[in-house]
Amino acid sequence: MKLRGRSLLTLLALLCAASATAAGTVEIAAAVGFTDTYQPGRWTPLSVTVTNHGDDLRGELEVQVAGGDELRNRLFETVHRRQLELHRNSRKTLQFTVFLQGPSHPLLIRVRSGERELARAEIDLRTRFAAERLLLVLSRDADLDYLNDSAARGLRVLYPHPELLPVHWRGYDAVAAMVVHGVSLERLSDTQYDALHKWIAQGGILAVSGGPDYALLRSPRLSAFLPGAPLGMTRIDGSVLQRAFSASLDVSRPVYVNRLGPFRGRASLSAGTVPLIVEHALGLGRVLYLTFDVAGPPFDRWDGMRELWRESLRLPPAADLSLSAPEPVLGNPLMSLIRAGSTNFPSPATVFYFLALYLGLLLAGYWFSVRETQRRWLAPLWSWAAPVLFAAAAWLLFGPTMFPRGATAVAAALIEPFPGSIYARLALDVGVYSNRSGALHLEYRGAEPVLYPTRQAQRDGIVDNWVFGEGPQRFLEPLDRRRYVLHALEGEDVITFNLDASVHDEATALRLVLDNASGRALKGLWLVFDGYAYELGSIEAGARVERELVRRTDGLEVGDAPWKSALKPPPGVPVQTMEPARILLERKAREMRESGYPGRGHALLIGYTENPFRPAGVSAGWPRREQALIAVRVATLPGFAAAGAGSRHQDR
C-alpha cells in the first residue's frame, strides 16, 4: 500500500515537472503599435512573436484587452484568439488589431494548449503610449524628426519597419499620414498592402518622396498609388527652384528631381513646367508625390521643410477618438430588424386549444371507461397512448414547426462607396441571441470588420465580455451564455464595392448615370435631391443605367426634413423593415449635421443590397435577420453636356 502511494506521488511529481518544463519552453514577445508606441483610445496593431523551444505545439494564442469605465466599475474584456501551431525550435509572429482604451490595464497575452497555459506575458502599456497623432516614415535614412510636435494633438514621427505595418486598415487609426522614402512596398504582404490601400481610400494621406532611385516608384504597388510614373531625372535651375520654394533654399549644388509623364490630379507646386508636388485623390484620401528627394540635399538642411510638409499634408484636425464620439440615441437598428422579422412565440390561443384538446381527450377517455362498459378496453390506450402522442405533438408543433430552438444572427449594415475608388465604408451593427442557453459562436465571412461593444451598451454599463477569433475562419462569441439576451457589437470595415454615380442637375430634370460594378444587385433604389425623392427600382449587378428624372412627373415632393419616412421598401417587403434603414440614415444625418445630409448641392442615392457580413462555417445554417443599406452622397453637376464623359463625379 505504502509502495503504491509512493509510486503515485512520484508520478505526480514527474507530471508536475513535465508540465513546468513545457511551460518554460514557450516564449512570448510583443510589440504594441508602431515601434512599440501607440495612442490610447485608438485601434492599434499588435505583433506577437511566439518562440517554441519545446516539442511541437498546437494550441491557441490569446490577447486579452481590458476596456470600459473603471471609475464606475463597468469594466469588460475582449479576447482576441488565434490558433497556433509551432514546430520544435520555431518561431511565429501573429498580428492583431486591438482597441487599447487606456494605459491603465496591461495587455495579457497567453499561449494555451487545451486548458493548460504554456506561457503568459503582461505588456505594460503605461510606458508605450503617445498622446500625439502619428506620422509614419518608411525609409532607411530619412530624418523627419523636425516634424515632431509635442503640443496637444501634435505629431509624433515614427520609423516603423515595413514588415510590421498593420494587416488591417483600422490599425492605422492613430496615424495622421505616412511618408514613403526610398523603400519598396513590394516588401509588404498582400494583407498589409490591402490594409494600406483601404486606409488611404477611407481618408488616409500618403506622401511619396522621389529621388534618384526612381525605379522603386515604378514598382507595381507604388505606381498604383502615384498620380504618375517617373520617367527619369531632370535638372532644375537653382533660381527656378528658389522661386518655387524659398530664397532660403541652398541651391549651390545642382538639384535633380523626378521627371513625370502625364499624371492624374493636380500639381500643387511646380518649378516652371516641372511638377514638384503632385497630388490626387484616392477615395476619401490623398496621395502626394514629391518629385524631389525630401531627405537629400538641399532639402535635408532647409529650414522651410517643416512648413512645406505642413502645407502639403494639410492634416485635418484630430478627430474624436474612434469610439468616444458621441452617438445619438436613436434606437437600435438590430432591435428594429428583430421586431420586423423574427419568429414569434406561438400564440396563447394556440396553446389553449392544444391543452383543451388534450385534457378533453383524457376526460372523454375517462368518461367512456367509467360509463360504457363495452368500451372499457380503450382505457389502457388512452391512459398511456394519449400522453405519449400529445407529448410528441407538443414537441413538433411548438418546437421545430412554430418556434425552432437555437441561435439567430442579426446584422444591419450601411455601405457608403468612396468616390473614385473601388472601396466602400461598411458600418455594421451585429448581434447574436438565442432562445436557449449555451455558447453563441458565430463564424462569419464576407467582411473583416473590427468589432467592439456598442457605445450604448458601454454607457448603460451592460457590456459583455467577448472573444474574437481571427485567422482563416473568423468568429465572435459573447461569454455571457444567457438566453434571450441580445449581444450586440459595432463594426467597421472597408470593403470592395465599386459603384460609380453622377447626377447632373438640368433645368427641369435630373440626369443620373450609374455604373454598378459592385457585383451585387441594388434594390429599392431612391434618389433624393433638392426636396424631391425619385424612385428608381432595382439595378442589377454589372448594369450601367442613365435616367432622366423630371421633377414634376417622377419626383415625390418630400420637403426638407422628413424625407426618410417617405421612402418605401422594395416590393414584397413589409413596411416595418424600413425602420432599421431609417435609424441608420438618421444616425448618418446626425454625424453630418454641420453640412446637412445629403447637404446643399448634393444628391443622395439610397437602396438595399446584400449584406456583406454573412454567417459561415458552423453558423451558416443560423436563422438571420439582416439588412444592408447603401447610401451614396453625390455632388450634383451642372447640365450633362458640361460634364466630362468618362470621368468620375462623386463628391469627396
Partner: protein, 263 residues
C-alpha cells in the same frame, strides 16, 4: 419488478379508469392554467429588450413538483387509490409477504406511478420547454428531484396513515399541513430542501453564467437530502408495520383478509 404484486397492482391500476385518474386530471388542469399564465404574452423582441426569457418551463416544473408531492401524500394516506389497489396496511397485515418485499414493492410502485403521472404531464412540460430555452439536462434534474420528493411525501403520507389513519379528519389536515410546512416555512428557511428553489436554480436565467463546477453539488445535495429522508421514512414505516404485524399476530382475522386479498 412485475413479480412484486404491489408493483403489478400499480401497473394494472394505471390502465384502468378510476377516481385517482380523475383527481390527477384535475391537477393537470391546474398545471395547464399555470402554463397559460406564464406563457409569454409579448414578442421575442420585447423579451430581448428586457433581457429576460419566458419562465413558463420553470413555472410548470414547479407546479408539477407540487402536484406530484400533493398527490403522493394523498396516495400515501390512502385518500386516493388506483382502481383495484390495496392499502399498505392490508399488504403488511393480511398477506404472508415479508415486510421488506412489501416495502420494496411499495416504493417501486410509487416510482412507477409517479412516472405515469409525469407522462401525463409531459405534453405540458414539452410545450413549455420549447419556448423557455432550458436544457434537457436541467429539466432531467428537476424531474428526478420531483420524483424523489414525491417518494418522500408518499412515505410521509403512509406514516400518517399508519399513525392516525383511523381518524379521517386529522389525517386529512395532517397531510396538507405536511405539504404546506415543507413547502413554505422549511423551503423558505432551508432553500436546499425546496423543489421550487431547486427548479429556479436549475432552469433560471442565472444558470448560464454560473460556473459549471458549482452547479452539480446543489443538485446532488437536494437529491441526497430527499433520498436520506426517504430512507429514514422507510425505516420508520418498517417499524410501524412490524409493530402492527406483531399486534396482529395470532389473529385469524388477518389471515382471512389475506386470503381475500391474494385470491
Amino acid at each position: 419488478m412485475r413479480s412484486n404484486p404491489l408493483v403489478t397492482e400499480v401497473l394494472v391500476g394505471t390502465t384502468r379508469a378510476g377516481k385517482a385518474q380523475l383527481d390527477y386530471i384535475g391537477l393537470l388542469v391546474l398545471q395547464a392554467v399555470v402554463l397559460l399564465l406564464w406563457w409569454p404574452k409579448v414578442g421575442v423582441a420585447q423579451m430581448l429588450d428586457s433581457q429576460h426569457g419566458p419562465h413558463a418551463l420553470a413555472a410548470v416544473v414547479m407546479a408539477v413538483g407540487v402536484t406530484l408531492a400533493y398527490f403522493a401524500l394523498r396516495a400515501g394516506a390512502e385518500e386516493v387509490m388506483l382502481p383495484g389497489q390495496h392499502g399498505l396496511r392490508d399488504w403488511a397485515l393480511a398477506t404472508p409477504l415479508g415486510l421488506g418485499r412489501v416495502l420494496g414493492g411499495y416504493l417501486l410502485g410509487q416510482v412507477v406511478h409517479s412516472l405515469y403521472l409525469l407522462a401525463l404531464s409531459a405534453p405540458l412540460l414539452l410545450t413549455a420547454f420549447t419556448v423557455s430555452g432550458g436544457e434537457w439536462a436541467a429539466l432531467g434534474w428537476c424531474l428526478a428531484a420531483a420524483l424523489l420528493q414525491a417518494l418522500f411525501y408518499r412515505l410521509s403520507g403512509a406514516m400518517t396513515h399508519l399513525a392516525i389513519g383511523q381518524h379521517r379528519g386529522e389525517t386529512y389536515f395532517t397531510v396538507r399541513a405536511i405539504l404546506l410546512l415543507m413547502y413554505v416555512p422549511v423551503g423558505w428557511l432551508v432553500p436546499l430542501t425546496s423543489h421550487i428553489a431547486f427548479t429556479s436554480r436549475a432552469l433560471g436565467e442565472s444558470t448560464a453564467t454560473r460556473p459549471e463546477s458549482g452547479s452539480v453539488p446543489d443538485e446532488w445535495v437536494f437529491l441526497a437530502l430527499y433520498a436520506g429522508l426517504s430512507v429514514l421514512a422507510t425505516i420508520v414505516l418498517h417499524r410501524l408495520l412490524a409493530r402492527a404485524r406483531r399486534g396482529m399476530a395470532g389473529s385469524q382475522a388477518g389471515a382471512r383478509v389475506g386470503e381475500a386479498v391474494t385470491s
